[in-house]
């Protein structure tokens, strides 16, 4: 998303910013900063301010967090100019923490030092397509080969959350794959996620998170007509928590067998 973002640099906030390439994983309040166009999202951690993303639309790879809630941030410090006064994390993964936190309420006014000159989507109506939709002038992608043999689909979740707006397309893809390969068996494994934060803390989801997700996905697929014998299992992802892309532990794995 950040490619093409030009900005007027503000003063560096931290005397000793973490080096490029360093992985960070922390839970903190998000901060929203208005600009003359769309707002940008930031978060403070150990005295440094990090840029997370900007407001665009549902096609964005990184979708903004919410005031009123802390956000779990997992990212890599990028070798890039500050954006909106924040050190850039690229790639970055955000998950809104489910419990409410009234302390997370910081809205910063527009400040001419911080501008977003590349604007994938204005704050009002779009110009006719989603911000990150493929260029209609570009040649269409080559059709993917028909899937054959066993297929595995992984669905990732927000912290302690179940199926949400992130999942309709993926659930639909599972239905399509099942038809295409003539699936006869289905295995669904839900995992309770765990995170090794940068301060060494182990952050774990609710004990029932994996089971709840597995059963929810199984119920939704069955309800949508995927009437296959289903093995539904759940597991604990604690052993996966090493501070590197721990968001992958918040998942459901769906295995389809012809």
């Amino acid at each position: 998303m950040r490619a093409g973002l030009l900005l007027a640099l503000g003063p560096a906030l931290a005397a000793a910013a973490p080096p490029a390439g360093e992985r960070l994983s922390f839970v903190s309040c998000p901060i929203i900063r208005d600009t003359r166009t769309v707002p940008c999202w930031l978060s403070d951690y150990e005295g440094d301010r990090y840029y997370l993303t900007i407001q665009s639309d549902v096609s964005a790879a990184v979708q903004p967090p919410m005031l009123g809630h802390q956000v779990l941030v997992e990212g890599v410090v990028a070798d890039a100019p500050l954006i909106c006064g924040g050190i850039v994390l690229e790639p970055v993964r955000l998950s809104v923490m489910p419990e409410r936190d009234a302390n997370c309420s910081t809205m910063l006014p527009a400040d001419d030092r911080f501008t977003i000159d590349f604007n994938p989507r204005p704050p009002g109506p779009s110009a006719g397509r989603l911000a990150f939709a493929p260029d209609p002038a570009a040649p269409p992608p080559a059709p993917a080969p028909a899937p054959r043999g066993p297929q595995t689909v992984e669905l990732y979740f927000d912290f302690d959350r179940g199926v949400s707006f992130r999942h309709p397309a993926e659930l639909g893809e599972i239905l399509r794959l099942a038809v295409q390969i003539g699936a006869t068996r289905l295995k669904i494994t839900g995992v309770r996620g765990a995170h090794r934060l940068s301060d060494g803390t182990l952050l774990r989801e609710a004990p029932a998170a994996g089971r709840r997700r597995a059963e929810e996905v199984a119920g939704l697929l069955a309800g949508a007509g995927l009437e296959l014998p289903a093995e539904v299992e759940w597991a604990d992802g604690e052993q996966e928590a090493d501070g590197i892309d721990d968001w992958r532990s918040r998942r459901v794995t769906v295995e389809l067998t012809p």
Partner: protein, 539 residues
């Protein structure tokens, strides 16, 4: 055909001679004044037989023409019947079906944009001494066993245009299986007495929750029921299973009712026949087809503005007038500068200043409408803590415009699965009389306490204890996150069918705008509010 309701050729349409009852009731109007208010309306010059004739009683056996207009306070609404004249004799939309004498048309009146304005309800009370079928005890009274004929028994209908909607509690799914809700429901306030009633209450024999809602327009339903955009087996905003059409097994857009409880026009008609109409027998497949076909052919929109003149004249904004709806494309996202929600093409921007006073006044109004459109479409503000908009990957808050949520081309609805909670029914945003020693008005609607399960994530903006007048979609889904979420209504024919919002809490378009202004701290200027109201009044 009724003498005052005549079919009129497409364009231009001469002004009808019949006069519409133009008054409206306000939320909070003292009940004792209802009869008096109706008498005053009836005594206004120009009213009389013509006013009464705008009412379609069940079984009148008058044809529905291909086009008809009715006067309202802002001008005239036009109804296009795309299939051409319909003989209503024996037609199941127009014939009484059940024991209470109602037909579909009872609550879907052409003069009221195929909905039912509270001014019409008040007039009907006056004309029939409260005996019109719309006041049937089943849902035209605050609770069925209240004394008939007493306006106090029908206060929510007479003052806010609200019908009682009894829903099973706990909720049941499409197959009638009980759903375990994510929350418990407690009655905190019960001004109608129905939610604590030994028969009709939550813990009563029937185990029902009574909520009170406005009837939605039975027009422009090709748009409302379109499945061309965003309809998949899974609901786009939540990932849950979409409702399916029982005839085809295909998912539907769930955009039709306040709580999306009925998937199709046919299931809604069947449910309404058994419930609202108290029909002892279900509608036959043929009758359902007749209703379905008629509803898809009806288009309603304001056709003439008292201040702005004809809304459908050649060269005018292409999105105004009912004819535009009849030929428009459904299932199109209009929140962009290639489709627009209500296309106006800037045709009322910078109009000539010359001409006589009447022309200058008309053009000034038209320019106001154009500015109102631009406020609706381009004026940004912070949308915050609104469930199913701030939770779908856009962030909380988002800096957007009215058309972000009201994005469906031609109707201003959401494109699919359009329930959101903007605070119309939930504490602390819902419009209610202030509790204070100085308050003369008392709350009229029930208040429920929703306690969400501790082992599940809380509602992201309201927590685990929520107070609401109407849990909305949550009474169907059983989901805590759906508490107070109401399907967005269409914007067309607004001038004909006050009051607004599902709970009738905005008596006028200005009150509607003021609600949003307060709710989202928009800080509209007076000019912006006027322009926005004028824009809404011509839709």
């Amino acid at each position: 055909m009724n003498g005052s309701s005549r079919a009129i050729s497409r364009t231009p349409r001469p002004r009808r001679e019949a006069v519409r009852v133009g008054g409206r009731n306000r939320a909070g109007l003292a009940l004792g004044a209802v009869m008096g208010a109706a008498s005053l309306l009836a005594a206004r010059p120009g009213l009389g037989d013509g006013a009464a004739s705008q009412w379609w009683a069940p079984g009148e056996d008058r044809p529905l023409p291909a086009y008809i207009e009715y006067v309202n306070a802002s001008g005239r609404i036009g109804i296009v019947n795309a299939a051409g004249p319909v003989d209503t004799t024996g037609h199941p939309f127009f014939e009484p079906r059940g024991s209470n004498g109602r037909a579909c048309v009872s609550c879907h009146q052409p003069a009221d944009g195929m909905s039912l304005a509270v001014s019409s309800i008040v007039q009907r009370w006056a004309d029939t001494a409260g005996s019109d079928p719309i006041f049937a005890a089943i849902d035209g009274a605050n609770c069925p066993d209240l004394p008939a004929g007493d306006p106090d028994s029908h206060s929510l209908l007479l003052e806010r245009g609200l019908f009682r909607i009894p829903l099973p509690w706990p909720p049941v799914d499409a197959e009638g299986r009980q759903i375990r809700p994510d929350f418990t429901l407690e009655v905190v306030r019960d001004p109608t007495g129905c939610n604590t009633h030994p028969v009709y209450g939550i813990d009563g024999e029937r185990r029902e929750v009574s909520v009170y809602r406005r009837p939605r327009p039975a027009a422009n339903l090709r748009y409302v029921s379109s499945s061309r955009f965003g309809v998949t087996p899974f609901i786009g905003k939540t990932g849950m299973l979409a409702a399916v059409d029982p005839e085809t097994g295909r998912p539907v857009n769930m955009n039709m009712m306040a709580d999306a409880r009925e998937p199709t026009l046919k299931t809604q008609a069947q449910s309404a026949a058994r419930g609202h109409l108290e029909s002892p027998a279900p509608l036959s497949p043929r009758e359902l087809e007749q209703i379905h076909a008629l509803e898809l052919d009806l288009y309603a929109a304001q056709a003439f503005s008292n201040q702005g003149g004809a809304l459908n004249e050649p060269g005018g904004p292409s999105g105004l007038g009912p004819e535009a709806l009849a030929v428009g494309r459904d299932g199109v996202l209009g929140n962009n500068t290639t489709q627009f929600v209500i296309p106006m093409e800037d045709r009322w921007a910078d109009l000539p200043e010359g001409g006589d006073a009447a022309l200058r006044e008309r053009n000034a109004f038209r320019e106001s409408v154009q500015r109102g459109h631009d406020v609706f479409f381009f004026r940004t503000f912070w949308i915050s803590d609104a469930m199913h908009i701030n939770t779908v990957g856009l962030g909380n808050p988002i800096k957007r415009t009215c058309s972000t949520c009201h994005g469906m081309h031609m109707t201003g609805m959401d494109t699919a699965n359009g329930w959101m909670d903007v605070g119309t029914t939930n504490h602390p945003f819902a419009l209610e009389p202030a509790e204070s020693p100085w308050a003369e008005e008392l709350p009229e609607l029930p208040l429920f306490k929703v306690s969400c399960r501790a082992d599940l994530p809380p509602h992201p903006f309201l927590g685990r204890e929520i107070y609401t007048q109407d849990p909305g979609r949550a009474l169907i889904s059983g989901k805590c996150e759906d508490v107070g979420a109401i399907v967005i209504q269409q914007f067309r024919g607004l001038a004909a069918r006050a009051p607004y919002f599902s709970n009738g809490s905005a008596a006028s378009l200005r009150e509607l705008v003021d609600f949003y202004d307060r709710r989202f701290n928009i800080r509209y200027t007076e000019q912006e509010k006027t322009d926005l109201v004028n824009f809404l009044s011509v839709l």
